[in-house]
């Protein structure tokens, strides 16, 4: 049974008290600032979103999305600076490519597109932040809870202790060498 089929069957008997859980990964320089501005302007938006601050959308590891969906989030939002405005020059371009490919993978696996969304929101776009949160929450609410009958296989990073302990490795000499990437 695919993820989505499993999910459909689970829709029956959703309790009335159910509220969607959405996690938003926001870059420090643009979207997190925009979210703060929404607060300064006393805007209102649903409390179903929890913001997790990362330095740059380029820091966004697809693994976090899997973890969130596995552990009970109903939707994930990734936000960064507008393309061309990245504080770190190119981070959001990398994010855009990675997240688009990853999104296709998730959709191939059966996840509804609405559950994983990527948006570019600047530090000035408090209104856009509010509107995005509202629309994502509503879309996820309409889909109902994400009930995975089987967990997506874990790709947890191996808990390898730092190099020196593992192999008792001591750098003896260092020779700089250009490597074409």
């Amino acid at each position: 049974m695919s993820v989505v089929e499993a999910n459909k069957t689970a829709q029956v008997g959703v309790p009335d008290s159910w509220e969607p859980k959405v996690i938003a990964f926001c870059c420090h320089w643009c979207t997190y600032t925009g979210a703060d501005l929404a607060g300064l302007n006393r805007m209102n938006y649903p409390a179903n979103v929890r913001v997790l601050r990362i330095p740059c959308s380029g820091r966004m590891n697809p693994q976090y999305v899997i973890e969130a969906l596995n552990k009970g989030c109903d939707g994930v939002l990734v936000c960064g600076c507008h393309p061309g405005d990245c504080h770190y020059v190119t981070g959001n371009y990398y994010a855009r490519r990675r997240m688009m490919i990853f999104k296709r993978l998730l959709e191939y696996e059966g996840l509804e597109p609405e559950r994983f969304q990527v948006r570019w929101i600047s530090g000035a776009e408090a209104g856009k932040f509010r509107d995005t949160v509202m629309s994502v929450v509503e879309q996820v609410r309409a889909l109902g809870p994400l009930n995975l009958t089987r967990e997506i296989p874990q790709f947890e990073l191996p808990a390898v202790p730092d190099g020196q302990e593992a192999f008792n490795a001591v750098p003896e000499e260092v020779m700089p060498e250009e490597v074409s990437a």
Binding site: A47, V51, P62, C73, Y94
Partner: protein, 660 residues
């Protein structure tokens, strides 16, 4: 076992008005590893901070969660506070329960639940943090300015006047750049040489400035505060300690060479100064054309030199020095229009000239001593056509961008021509007239009143018939073809970055745009900084601009450099990438992705299972890494991690959140 202290702020009623702070505190007490929870009316106030400090001591707290306003507001405050306590300043997490909770939700129950979650996330994350330490980077109190045009000179003077040592590297044999080639400057019509040459001698005589003329940057390594730069001083074949600059050699040299300074419109000798007021005011020998150096015959200059300064055995000299900051002031050149515009004759007509050639023609010290005479027959042109945007705003043949200075520059040329040839006629073909600057539009209007005929349209073709250059255009305002039978045509050609900018910028890992202009760190807020810390931009290397703007930017770059050089040491940001060398494959995926060139692959020898193994691993330069984390995701082995935002800590944050 970690010992976490949680400090929750009421922020008056800002937070407490919507969030039940005591309930959040009650919940926090149940979280693992939390040894102390405290609420406070205003945690950021002096008594609030004192409370935190005391609690840390009395409860032996080793990591801290503050649930209050946005970390963008007070994270630095808490870090500073922790620096005075036994807790490492980076063992801190801020839960934003004001901007992103109490202020955006109205329902007290909902807001309280969310605040609890945010605290849980913070506690989960802080438990996984490691102490981080800034390292101190020493700052070498010396700046390098690359390029000795007006922007480079202004930057150097400003830095030097602030008391710091500056070295200017200039590729040509003299300071001055493009400005010293110009005749007058708009809109005030100051004599360009009169305001530029005093700057040149000021730079030449300044005790804090070393001018390395006829020199280029050979090699660079290092980072902010510590750039190790090797400079190649090309062989001048003249001992500047002996040379008095008397010029006897120049008058006797038999070899004639096309004079680039005069834009090819006159000749110089093989031993030469670029122009009479050159700084340094001493000649060099152009090895490619010198008869002695190229063919082994001649030696006249050595015979006539009264001080014996000529040295035919001279060689290039390499010197390496360390600089705290580097300023690019490499300037521009004019686009080579000839291969691009065959419809304008492609260079076949000598009387189709560039704006810079025109500058030399009207200049009193130029090849015609300031008389406007056309190159083909030295006659005074009575009909002159000026064509703007040649190579600019032309993605088909040249560049898409506007070169910004040419509208004023061409108005100045029209004005100068009509001034010197009162019975002449001048037609300016334009598409738009862009004069946003103080006194600029007034200048343009004056040029119109001088009698310059502005025709709105691009010229499609220039051809020669009966000694006239026939220019075919459209007057788009009357919708008809127009023809001008001109004696001379001036093309206001596009600005493009100086030769060799790509190689030079690559050495310093300074970004370039598609047209090779150097890229500033932020178009609005950091216009003179680059993405490589410690490297700044001045003048036209960053994009086309006029002299006032170049000088402005030079001052701005200098102030940034002075700010940097004023510090003895820099505190590095410890939240940077970190390589787990045990699993690093050394494949270099991270190297290409880093926008700062902060990662390189090095060969390291490890002792693994009692054997010595040498293999490539990535190495992060803490002086260059800005902590964006792009490399962490690209690493196939998962060997890259970002300190302060480790994979582990973010995953636990996610987990904590999902328990709600």
């Amino acid at each position: 076992m970690s010992r976490i202290g949680v400090f929750i702020c009421y922020c008056g009623s800002n937070i407490a008005g919507t969030v039940d702070v005591e309930a959040v505190a009650e919940m926090a007490r149940t979280l693992p590893d939390v040894v102390h929870v405290e609420t406070n009316k205003y945690t950021c106030s002096d008594p609030g901070q004192e409370g935190v400090r005391n609690a840390i001591i009395s409860h032996e707290i080793d990591r801290v969660v503050v649930a209050a306003c946005s970390p963008r507001m007070h994270e630095p405050t808490w870090r500073k506070l922790l620096a005075d306590t036994p807790v490492n300043p980076y063992m801190l997490e801020v839960a934003n329960i004001r901007e992103q909770c109490s202020w955006v939700h109205k329902d007290r129950e909902v807001a309280t639940a969310k605040a609890m979650d945010l605290v849980k996330m913070a506690v989960a994350k802080v438990a996984r943090l490691q102490p981080l330490h800034s390292t101190e980077i020493p700052v070498h109190k010396k700046a390098l300015v690359i390029g000795g045009g007006i922007a480079g000179m202004q930057t150097a003077l400003d830095i030097a006047d602030a008391g710091f040592k500056v070295t200017i590297v200039e590729r040509e044999t003299s300071l001055g750049g493009k400005m010293v080639m110009l005749d007058k400057t708009f809109p005030t019509m100051d004599c360009s040489a009169c305001i530029c040459t005093p700057k040149m001698s000021e730079v030449g005589n300044h005790p804090n400035i070393t001018v390395k003329s006829y020199s280029e940057v050979e090699n660079v390594s290092g980072y902010i505060g510590n750039f190790e730069v090797t400079i190649r001083e090309k062989a001048k074949y003249i001992d500047y300690n002996l040379c008095t600059g008397c010029g006897a050699c120049e008058t006797k040299c038999p070899q004639k060479v096309v004079n680039d300074f005069e834009q090819g419109m006159s000749e110089r000798t093989a031993i030469y100064k670029m122009f009479p007021q050159a700084v340094p005011a001493k000649p060099v020998i152009d090895a490619a054309h010198c008869r002695k150096l190229a063919q082994g015959k001649c030696g006249v200059c050595a015979k006539v030199c009264p001080t014996g300064a000529i040295n035919y055995e001279d060689e290039d000299k390499l010197t390496t020095e360390t600089y705290g900051a580097v300023v690019f002031a490499t300037g521009y050149k004019l686009i080579d229009w000839k291969p691009l515009y065959p419809e304008y004759g492609g260079g076949a007509y000598p009387d189709v000239i560039t704006g810079l050639q025109f500058e030399r023609l009207v200049n009193a010290s130029g090849p015609t001593e300031g008389h406007i005479l056309r190159p083909s027959d030295n006659s005074e042109p009575k009909d002159v056509v000026i064509i703007k945007c040649v190579g600019s705003r032309d993605p088909n043949k040249g560049k898409a961008y506007c070169s910004r200075a040419c509208c004023m520059y061409s108005a100045k040329h029209a004005h100068q021509y009509l001034d010197k040839v009162p019975d002449g006629r001048c037609y300016v073909f334009y598409m738009d007239v862009r004069t946003p600057g103080k006194g600029y539009d007034e200048f343009y209007m004056n040029t119109l009143h001088d009698g310059a005929q502005y025709i709105r349209g691009r010229v499609s073709k220039i051809y020669q018939e009966g000694g006239k250059l026939i220019c075919k255009g459209e007057d788009t305002l009357t919708s008809q073809q127009v023809t001008v039978e001109a004696d001379m045509v001036v093309l206001e050609t596009a600005m493009v970055p100086a030769d060799g900018i790509d190689e030079l910028a690559a050495k310093f890992t300074v970004g370039r745009d598609a047209d090779s202009w150097l890229v500033e760190a932020h178009a609005k807020l950091r216009p003179v900084e680059t993405n490589t810390a410690g490297i700044y931009l001045a003048g036209t290397c960053q994009g086309p601009k006029d002299i006032p703007d170049s000088v402005c930017q030079a001052g701005a770059a200098a102030s940034k450099v002075i700010g940097l050089l004023n510090k003895d040491v820099l505190q590095s940001n410890p939240q940077i990438s970190h390589v787990n060398e045990a699993i690093c494959q050394g494949d270099g995926a991270c190297v290409g992705i880093c926008p700062y060139g902060a990662i390189q692959i090095v060969q390291k020898t490890f002792r693994e299972n009692s054997r010595k193994v040498t293999r490539p691993v990535a190495q992060v330069n803490p002086g260059l890494c800005q902590g964006c984390g792009a490399c962490t995701v690209t690493c196939r082995a998962g060997a890259m991690d970002l300190l302060g935002y480790t994979n582990e800590s973010i995953m636990r944050e996610v987990d904590a959140l999902c328990q709600w």
